[in-house]
Subunit: 132 residues, 2 copies
């Protein structure tokens, strides 16, 4: 699992690197999760997004429960080597566990102290029907 | 500095949240940096991206040295409240300290152990001319 290219990636003290998933067609940012070296290597090998679940402390093959896999078209690394961007095709059009297209479904509206988060995206499928 | 909307943001143990800057016109992901509550509040108030420099341990008003400010059109928060996305207009078209449009200028090419990072983006301006 220790390919040469992995040595250019700087993992943090917990052995993780943030990975941003972006829709390859629309450019919309779908989610950010974390990867360890194994999940990044498996992502590159299988062209399916594999993250590290910090809460469950295990590899999280995106879609393994929901069916909403991410087919990975491109993997990019930033200048410091400590952030990954994935260009993905989101199967089923839902990446968020709330049943929405994107996890970034809240926008800050209004100015200063009057500002608040507004939900801009519909729930496409009831999460109770996704995670049976 | 403690607006109501800030309470929806979950900062990590160091008091920071990752912030992804995306070009508002092209959708290209330009960079990821970190924000503390003060930098997020100032970003919302001034519509200029302000990050927290972990290396310099101080507020980093993007463009303060380079001139390459980011005008913030939109601030989004993810489902867990622990990642920010900024839709920005990148002044000068350069967000990376290497003089490139985006920090994500390396793409993984090739398969398995033969894979390696390939630079896909030109340097638009010599960094030595940016940081005088």
């Amino acid at each position: 699992m220790n390919a040469h290219w992995l040595e250019s990636v700087t993992f943090n003290a917990e052995g993780l690197v943030p990975a941003i998933a972006q829709d390859v067609k629309t450019g919309r940012i779908l989610m950010m999760a974390w990867m360890n070296a194994d999940s990044l290597a498996e992502t590159a090998a299988t062209h399916r997004a594999v993250y590290w679940s910090r809460s469950r402390r295990k590899l999280w093959r995106k879609g393994e429960e929901s069916g909403y896999e991410q087919v990975v078209h491109e993997i990019r690394l930033d200048c410091d080597g400590d952030v990954i961007v994935l260009a993905v095709e989101q199967k089923g059009g839902i990446s968020c566990h709330t049943g929405r297209e994107s996890c970034f479904f809240r926008r800050l509206d209004g100015d200063a102290d009057e500002a608040d988060w507004v939900i801009t995206d519909p729930v496409l499928k009831d999460p109770e029907l996704i995670y049976k």
